[in-house]
């Protein structure tokens, strides 16, 4: 188990957004997190990545208790994430968007007197990642000039550049056109598999869920409704009714 969550709870005022959730993610496993709107998916990811502090429960990562660790600590431990709403360095070029995480990862970010361009290896690696995500053509445009979908792809590429052990992706393909959804997912997932990274992916599109995940976690009103292989979960009657809307 790279990640295990025990009896996690999160209360917002009178609302219990996460209500006693326990589950685990194995190494190299890709888990999809599905559920209706407002079920608590983003909240769960925020708890794991440290952007929210739980009201009860524990989170372990690689055997360590990280329940109250700072987000920064968790990044250093190897938890990477993307956001439901993209967060880019809007004014910087696409290349620099990917290069900056690399500088941080290689501990070069404090270098103050040498030009960024003089780090040829890092630049080369960044270009490799851009090629992987089909963004190479745009490498010199400022990120703000990308379309919504391109931004989404770049966002994932940036999380990827950190080479985390566990990648948390919040609707990585929402806003991406249908076909590109698959190619983006292909890229991400093959990269994840190649690097042996584990992932927790929030996704609404069941085609993608069933294509790319090893395991599915269904969450409803803050509790786990079902858990298992995609095929099995999608046969679950309750899931079909409340989440998928299929009678």
């Amino acid at each position: 188990m790279i990640l295990s969550v025990e009896k996690l709870e999160k209360q917002f005022g009178s609302l219990k957004a996460i209500d006693g959730v326990s589950f685990g993610i194995r190494e190299r496993e890709i888990v999809s997190l599905i559920g209706s709107n407002g079920a608590g998916k983003t909240t769960l990811v925020n708890l794991i990545s440290g952007y929210l502090k739980p009201t009860a429960g524990r989170i372990f990562f690689g055997g360590k208790d990280i329940t109250y660790a700072s987000p920064f600590k968790r990044i250093k431990l190897g938890i990477g994430r993307s956001f439901q709403i993209v967060h880019l360095f809007e004014e910087a070029t696409v290349l620099d968007n990917v290069r900056t995480p690399l500088f941080a990862r290689y501990g070069r970010i404090k270098s103050i007197l040498w030009s960024a361009d003089s780090y040829v290896d890092i630049t080369r690696e960044a270009i490799g990642i851009l090629k992987l995500f089909n963004l190479y053509d745009k490498k010199d445009s400022p990120a703000k000039e990308l379309s919504e979908g391109e931004k989404k792809i770049l966002d994932v590429a940036m999380a990827f550049a950190l080479k985390p052990k566990l990648l948390l992706l919040d609707e990585p393909t929402s806003g991406v056109a249908t076909h590109d959804k698959f190619s983006v997912m292909n890229t991400i997932v093959s990269a994840i598999r190649k690097e042996g990274i584990s992932a927790l992916i929030i996704e609404h599109d069941m085609d993608i869920v069933s294509n790319y995940s090893d395991n599915v976690l269904v969450i409803h009103e803050g509790r786990i409704m079902a858990e298992g292989k995609p095929e099995d979960v999608m046969q679950n009657k309750e899931v079909r009714e409340t989440i998928l809307g299929i009678q």
Binding site: F12, T42, E145, E148, A177, T178, H179, D180, M206, G245
Partner: protein, 235 residues
Amino acid sequence: MTLLDIENLDFFMGSTQILRSVSFSVNEGEAVCLLGRNGSGRTSIIKNIIGLYLPRSGKIVFRGNEITRMPPRNRVLMGIAYSPEDSRLFSELTVEENIKIAAWVRGEKNDTFNFESVFEIFPEIKKLMKRKGLYLSGGERKMVSIARALALSPSLLLLDESFEGLAPVVINRFKEALKQIKDMGVTILLAESNIKVASLVSDRAYIVERGEVIFEGQPQEILQNEKLLRIIGGG
């Protein structure tokens, strides 16, 4: 009868041309879909129609009146409503206030807005009424944003990627609702990237590619045409 007519729209951002001579039209009571890849220019078209962007040249005609350079407010008063792809709720106002504001623009008195029709489409909203926009989940925001556009009781509804981020069960419900809305005589223009969703709710579709309209036809035609499918990326 054409409700919305767009002629030779050229739109620039800074010095880059985003839209190239875009022309298309939407008939009254129709549901029309703009299909295309990411970055093809659909959002730009929609923002030109609501007036957040101004074109360099070309014409936008609504109900026979040219509205190309009209301020957004006038367009809204003429019956155009818009739900953006990133929802854009007023984060410090409650859901109720978010929706009511739209009703006020339309001229409703303070407390007469009837939320029933909204609850019918999105029952989820009922329990969110007193929550601030800031604290909603992604999908909840989407719903409120659509509800807010509906509260303007528009005759033309502009929906930008409104199905994104909604759970399948909600999508199903929303598709049904769109049909009802259409039956009530509201014209719908949606920007979509998912041809399957588009084919279910729209009568006609345009394909936008690199800022140009390159195809017009039935969604079914596109579904059957390999080449078109590749262009819009609808695998």
